[in-house]
């Protein structure tokens, strides 16, 4: 080997991509990490919002992995470009609204662009044949390599022996003998490797790292699309889907009601953009209205918000309503009874 070759590693923050990067570092390859922010990444958002979770230790797992490995990490904002992947996935959805195969292809394609701009030699990922039902199958892994444009510059060190030889192997930049043949959903080999490398405290996300795989989140996103008559979103939309209690009493509007102090504080940041309601005679949540409510709708919304205040059993609760640049006005309302809130209102 005449010069030190450079690999860009897709670092998710989980164990597999960490091990793949470690295998390359062991072979003397210069590795830098890349991590993509789509807006749907779980990464402790709700922990940052909810008051009860504010004292819990927080970390970005991709940064943690990079620091542990002693490599640089570049975090790339792909929020805008990623919309097309979520809205029009060529290969369809996996679990819920997860555009699994398109997502992997998109990320490898972005990594390939980064490689070209930064004069790196090849890309590595922590993929394992058979680990994911859609994107990590033996017959779909070549699709990712081909559609991303990376082709033979995409190396999967953890399962390289089960795949065709790549350019870095053919050129002798990496020793194929030192790569692995992992397959299937078992995590035992990776856990054993982590132990061997003295890596502990790595992230083990139970529900995956993407909100789109979450059934409740996906149902709220589908509701958003249905209510607007188009499959589109802005970052604020998808952030708000992570916060509060969502109720849609009528097709043309929904309420986002804070569930505790941290969420109320977060929703306060949206007061200028949304009509909002707050009980003032009793302690209660802040609620945003997404949609176009008329006067009757506002009355219903006020009764709903009153239900989630400390005045839920009172005869009357005074609710302040603020709409755009108008002066706030108040309504004295009787809180809705639980039996008057149909289950189907809950998004």
């Amino acid at each position: 080997m005449t010069s030190k070759r450079k690999a860009v590693a897709l670092i998710s923050g989980g164990l597999d991509s960490m091990l793949a990067a470690k295998l390359m570092l062991d072979q003397g390859i210069h590795v830098e990490g890349i991590n993509f922010y789509t807006g749907f990444c779980v990464e402790g958002h709700t922990h940052a919002i909810r008051r009860k979770d504010r004292d819990k230790a927080k970390r970005n797992n991709a940064l943690w992995v990079a620091e542990k490995l002693g490599i640089k990490l570049h975090i790339i904002d792909v929020i805008e470009e990623y919309k097309d992947i979520v809205i029009n996935p060529k290969h369809g959805y996996g679990a819920n609204l997860n555009p699994c195969l398109d997502c992997k292809g998109f990320m490898v394609k972005k990594a390939y662009q980064w490689l070209q701009e930064n004069n790196f030699d090849f890309i590595i990922t922590g993929e394992v044949v058979g680990q994911r039902p859609m994107s990590q199958r033996r017959n779909t892994m070549p699709v990712v390599a081909r559609e991303s444009g990376a082709n033979a510059l995409l190396l999967r060190p953890l399962c390289a022996h089960l795949l065709p030889m790549t350019h870095p192997e053919e050129q002798g930049w990496v020793e194929r003998d030192k790569l692995l043949n992992l397959s299937g959903r078992s995590r035992k080999p990776q856990i054993a490797m982590a132990k061997q490398y003295n890596l502990d405290d790595y992230a083990q996300p139970a529900g995956g790292c993407c909100f789109l795989t979450n059934e409740h989140y996906a149902s709220k996103l589908k509701d958003l699309w249905a209510s607007r008559g188009e499959r589109n979103y802005e970052l604020d939309d998808i952030m708000l889907l992570k916060v509060g209690r969502h109720l849609r009493p009528r097709p043309h509007f929904k309420l986002i009601i804070g569930r505790e102090e941290g969420e109320n504080r977060y929703l306060e940041g949206y007061r200028r953009q949304y009509t909002h309601l707050k009980p003032i005679s009793h302690i209660g949540p802040l609620a945003l209205i997404d949609g176009t409510p008329d006067d009757d709708d506002l009355l219903l919304a006020a009764r709903l918000v009153a239900r989630y205040s400390q005045g839920r059993d009172a005869d009357q609760v005074r609710v302040e309503i603020s709409e755009g640049s108008h002066q706030p006005h108040t309504l004295d309302v009787k809180p809705l009874a639980d039996q008057d809130i149909p289950q189907e209102w809950h998004v």
Binding site: Y37, G44, R59, N60, G70, H74
Partner: protein, 76 residues
């Protein structure tokens, strides 16, 4: 040395880190960047990002709802 300020309030992690990273790309060694955030996670993530890229945290002020992190840029 020039002092810059970055407003990352209301952004949730990792956006404050991404904005910090992108701003520092435009700065020179010796410049100082003060990042103002509201996400408590930024107080962990921005210093972690700085450590792996060789920049130094020279001051951190944590108030009730705001965190001010001051970074000395080092691109050597």
């Amino acid at each position: 040395m020039t002092h810059f300020t970055l407003d990352a309030r209301r952004l949730l992690c990792p956006l404050p880190v991404i904005r910090t990273q992108n701003k520092i790309k435009t700065l020179q060694t010796g410049d100082v960047l003060e990042v103002i955030c509201t996400d408590p996670g930024a107080n962990h993530d921005i210093p972690a990002w700085c450590r792996i890229h060789g920049h130094k945290i020279i001051d951190t002020v944590v108030e009730e709802d705001e965190i001010r992190i001051t970074i000395s840029v080092d691109k050597r």
